[in-house]
């Protein structure tokens, strides 16, 4: 489902004397449907960079990044937009939303964009918000004023609203209490059971051990200093 071969990434800082910073070289990764792979490696090794390249947020310098039929490294913007709408979800560490939009709508939005009816989309959003223990009285408020943990849970609810065939998870259990952490792990297990291919970053070793089938140490892709 997700298949990376020979991916490299180099940043060029034009305003700092054209400094070239190679951050990744020869990255390979293959994730089958129903499988969850953890990216490991110390901070700065390139876990997030690799994940952002799969999502198309960072441009790969070279190599191939296949998600389903789309090569994200080469696809036109509208192909990536379509892929993100239907095929590839991403739960980032931070919630980025439009102010004023109620939480329920924030969570339902990915479904509304897909053309799901309002009733069905809101019903799904409410189910997820309830499972993640967001009190009902908050649903009609914008999440911008919520606590960090609440925002994280709203973000997860939004990421799991649609059943994406491929899913990227950046620290989904960070800053959650035991009960909510359990809910998130169950959501991940359910996604695997329905055949989603998942790539995740988990600092929580126990969570990693429970939901991940394999680990890939990204420091193997760190370019050797010349």
């Amino acid at each position: 489902m997700i298949d990376l071969s020979n991916v490299s990434k180099r940043f060029t800082l034009h305003n700092q004397g054209g400094a070239e910073i190679p951050v990744m070289e020869g990255a390979h990764l293959s994730v089958a449907a129903g499988e969850c792979v953890a990216l490991t490696g110390e901070s700065g090794a390139g876990k997030s960079t690799l994940m952002r390249m799969i999502y198309g947020n960072y441009l790969a310098t070279s190599g191939r990044i296949k998600v389903g039929d789309v090569d994200v490294a080469r696809a036109a913007p509208r192909e990536i937009v379509a892929l993100r709408r239907e095929g590839l979800g991403y739960v980032s560490q931070f919630l980025r939303v439009l102010p004023r939009v109620p939480t329920r709508e924030v969570v339902a939005e990915p479904l509304l964009t897909l053309g799901v009816t309002r009733e069905a989309a809101l019903a799904r959003a409410e189910t997820l918000l309830r499972r993640l223990n967001i009190p009902e009285r908050l649903w009609s408020l914008s999440p911008t004023t919520f606590s960090g943990g609440e925002q994280q849970r709203v973000n997860i609810a939004r990421g799991f609203a649609h059943d994406y065939p491929a899913l990227l998870l950046d620290e989904p259990t960070a800053s959650l209490d035991a009960m909510n952490r359990e809910t998130v792990l169950r959501l991940i297990e359910e996604a695997k059971a329905r055949g989603a291919a998942i790539v995740g970053i988990f600092h929580d070793a126990e969570a990693r051990g429970r939901v991940c089938d394999r680990e890939v140490d990204v420091s193997a892709f760190t370019p050797k200093a010349a």
């Binding site: 940043f11 060029t12 800082l13 034009h14 305003n15 952002r52 198309g56 947020n57 960072y58 441009l59 913007p77 509208r78 990536i80 937009v81 439009l98 102010p99 004023r100 939009v101 509304l112 964009t113």
Partner: protein, 257 residues
């Protein structure tokens, strides 16, 4: 294979020897929202006005996929044809609402007028549609008979949007649609625009200098400097991993809140 709604080929516009915009080409597909960013003087408004038929470019072609005749070069079509497009399939949202509204006509009249321009004649239907559209842009029905000069800036802008979208256009040009509005009003307007774009499947080209606005509204982004496109791509990719030196400077110059 879906064909592009708008196909822009090598559009250039000069002001004497000075470059307005030069050699701009791109395709816009149905349902796509593209942002154009750059500093003042970068040529983004010149380009928008050339595309929308407000300004004749010196060279280039702008093909629009018309409902009845397929792709037509809007720069060579007759003036009445182009004016008809401007009233039906195209809409233009100005930065200053008063440039896009008739200030001496009631709010309802502003919306109804555009319907009448495309042939609507039944007063009851026109009024009903006007009420519906004012509701969609969150203007209370009891303000329908007030003139726009009695409205706040944010309300005027929402009225301008209603006037533009009532005829169900397929392509909307927007020039700094949130410029000059309070931030709280901006957020409301952005939310509204996003909802309308999604529900109506609109294509849009939005010119702005506000990177936060394009991040929220646009799928794709084009960065302009001195009349040239220096970088283009997926909006969040261009903002988070800019490739061109100018874009890197632009992105790193934004104050963090």
């Amino acid at each position: 294979m879906i064909s592009p709604l708008l196909n822009v080929r090598s559009v250039s516009k000069y002001y004497g020897t000075r470059i307005g915009c030069e050699n701009v080409s791109f395709d816009l597909y149905p349902g796509e929202v593209m942002g154009i960013v750059g500093e003042s003087g970068s040529g983004k408004s010149t380009l928008l006005n050339c595309l929308a038929g407000h300004l004749p470019p010196d060279s280039g072609e702008v093909f629009f996929d018309t409902r009845t005749n397929g792709p037509r070069d809007t720069l060579t079509m007759s003036e009445p044809e182009r004016r008809m497009l401007g009233r039906t399939d195209w809409a233009f949202v100005h930065q200053h609402a008063r440039d896009g509204l008739r200030m001496g006509v009631s709010a309802g009249g502003n919306v109804g007028e555009r319907l009448m321009a495309v042939g609507a004649r039944h007063y009851g239907n026109i009024r009903a549609q006007a009420v519906d559209w004012l509701g969609r842009v969150e203007i209370a029905a009891d303000r329908m008979d007030d003139r726009p000069d009695a409205f706040s800036g944010g309300m005027q802008q929402r009225l301008q949007i209603a006037r533009n979208l009532v005829t169900g256009p397929r392509l909307v040009f927007m020039d700094e649609p949130t410029g000059g509005l309070d931030v709280s009003v901006q957020a409301r307007l952005l939310d509204l625009l996003r909802g309308l774009v999604r529900e109506m499947g609109l294509s849009a080209i939005i010119v702005t200098h506000d990177l936060a606005v394009v991040r929220l509204l646009a799928d794709r982004l084009m960065v302009m400097k001195d009349g040239h496109v220096v970088e283009a791509g997926l909006t969040d990719q261009v903002l988070d991993d800019p490739q061109h030196g100018y874009t890197q400077l632009l992105v790193s110059s934004v104050l963090q809140v």
